[in-house]
Subunit: 268 residues, 2 copies
C-alpha cells in the first residue's frame, strides 16, 4: 500500500473507466446488497448515498457544512476504532474509506466501502455513543467533520428530519437481516459473488455486451475480508471463474463477464 493507493485505488481515465474525475458519488454499503431475495417482493435496498444529510432541506445541509471542519487522511490511516468515543460524523469529499470490524486476533471483516458523497460515523452524530466499527482510509482522503452539536442545532429547528431518518434507519435494519441470512446460508463462492456484485454496483462501468468493469483496484485480500473467507480461496474461486469466463481481469481491474451467472452463484 504505497503511494497512497491503499488497497483500493482509483482507475484513472485509460480507456477503461469513464474518464471523469472526480468520480461520481459511489459507495458500497456492504450490508445493503441482498442479491437474492427470499421472496419476490423484498423492500428495495438502501443506496448508501441516501444518507442522513440527503434528507435535509438543501439550505440546512448548506448551513451544516458551512461550519464543517475539514479532515485529511493518508491511505491506511485510521479515522477511528470501534469503542472510541464519537461525537459527530464525516462526509467523504474525496477518497475512499473502509468500514470494518476487527477481531483481537487480527481478523478483519469489511462492512462497507464508502466513496465521495457518503457519510460515515452517523450513528455517533445521532446518539453520541462510542463507535461500533472501525474506519480506515483505503487511499488518501478528504473529509468534512460535522459535530453532533451542530447537527442537533439544525435538527431542532426542523424536527421533521427525524421522521425521514427513521425511514432510512429502518431500511438499513431490514438490510441487515439479509446480511445475516447471507452469512448463514451462502457458501464461500456465493459470498465472493456477492462481494463482486456489490463492487460492480458501486464502482461498476458498463463496457458493452453486459460486461461490467469495476473501476477500483481490488486485491484478493480485500475481497476475502468482504466475504469473510481466506485469501487463498478467493484466488482459487476467481481463477475458476476466469476459466469459466464469468469474470476477467483487465490491466489489474476485475470485470464481470457474466453477471447473470454470478447472481446465480450469489443466490441462496
Amino acid at each position: 500500500m504505497r503511494n497512497g493507493s491503499g488497497g483500493f485505488s482509483f482507475v484513472l481515465a485509460m480507456g477503461l473507466g469513464d474518464g471523469v474525475y472526480p468520480p461520481p458519488p459511489c459507495a458500497i454499503l456492504w450490508s445493503a446488497r441482498p442479491h437474492a431475495a427470499t421472496k419476490e417482493a423484498m423492500a428495495k435496498p438502501l443506496s448508501p448515498l441516501e444518507n442522513l444529510l440527503s434528507v435535509l432541506p438543501p439550505e440546512l445541509a448548506a448551513t451544516l457544512f458551512a461550519t464543517a471542519r475539514p479532515h485529511r487522511l493518508k491511505a491506511d490511516q485510521t479515522l477511528f476504532t470501534a469503542g472510541d468515543p464519537g461525537d459527530g460524523c464525516y462526509r467523504v469529499e474525496q477518497g475512499l474509506l473502509k468500514v470494518s470490524v476487527v477481531s483481537p486476533s487480527g481478523g478483519e471483516r469489511i462492512l462497507a466501502i464508502l466513496g465521495p458523497g457518503s457519510l460515515v460515523g452517523e450513528f455517533a452524530m445521532l446518539d453520541a455513543q462510542p463507535r461500533s466499527a472501525s474506519v480506515t482510509a483505503a487511499r488518501d482522503s478528504e473529509l468534512s467533520f460535522i459535530s453532533r452539536k451542530s447537527f442537533e442545532g439544525v435538527a431542532e429547528s426542523h424536527p421533521d428530519v427525524y421522521r425521514h431518518i427513521v425511514a432510512l434507519l429502518v431500511r438499513r435494519l431490514r438490510d441487515t437481516n439479509q446480511v445475516v441470512a447471507a452469512m448463514s446460508f451462502l457458501s464461500l463462492k456465493g459470498r465472493v459473488a456477492q462481494a463482486l456484485l456489490s463492487l460492480a454496483e458501486a464502482f461498476g462501468n458498463d463496457v458493452g455486451s453486459g460486461r461490467i468493469l469495476v473501476k477500483q483496484k481490488v486485491t484478493q485480500s480485500d475481497l476475502a475480508a468482504m466475504a469473510g473467507i481466506a485469501r487463498e480461496n478467493v484466488s482459487r474461486i476467481l481463477n475458476d471463474w476466469m476459466r469459466a469466463k464469468l469474470v476477467s481481469r483487465l490491466a489489474g481491474y476485475y470485470c464481470l463477464e457474466n453477471r447473470a451467472a454470478l447472481e446465480k452463484e450469489a443466490a441462496m
Copy 2:
C-alpha cells in the same frame, strides 16, 4: 411440537422457576447481546423491551392499544413470512414468538425470541415495506395488532416520538455490527456460548451460587438455529460442557453452572 409447547415451552412453578405466571416481560433480541466487546467501552446493548412504544407517553400508548385488534396464534403457526406485505406491528401479550430468516433449502436462522411485552414487526409499522424476516409462534400466543395508520395518527400529534425512535434504531444498528463480528470471528463453541448466555439473560433465574437456570425448554435444534450450526454439534458441545461442569440440565432445563467460563468461550 404438540400440545402447544412449540419448541420453547415455559417452565411452570416447580421449584425451579420463580413460579410467577404470567412471567415478567422477557425476550431475546438476539442481535442485541454482544458478549464480548472489541474494546472496553462499547455502547450499552439494547434491551428488547425498550421498544418503539415504550418511548410513547403512556396516554398515547393507551389510545393506540385501545384500537388494537387482538390476534391469536397456535404454536408453530406463522404470523408472517419474509416478503409478505406489512402494514403494522404486533405486541406480544402472551406466549412466545420466534423471529427467523429461512433459506429456500429449509435452513433456519433464529434472529430473536420475543416474549410478552415485546414488539414484533415494527419496521413495517414505520415504513410499510414488506417483511424482512419471518415470525412463528413458539407456543400458543396472544398478540395485539397495531396498524401503521393508527400509529401514524398518534405520532403526527407528537412528532418528537420520531426522535426517540431514531435513538432506538441507532442502537439496534450498532448491535448488528457485533452480530456480524460474532458470526465472522467466533467458533462454533463461541456461538453456542453466546446463545446460552442470551437465553440466560432473557429467561434466566438466579438459583444461588451464581448458577442461572433458563426457565424455558430449549431444544438443541433451537440452539443450533440460534448459533447457525448443526444440531449434532450442539449436542457434542453441550455434553463437553456438562462434563466440565459449565452447564447442567435439571428436569429438561438448562442451567449455567459457570457463567464466567461461558463468557470466556463467547469472547472473541
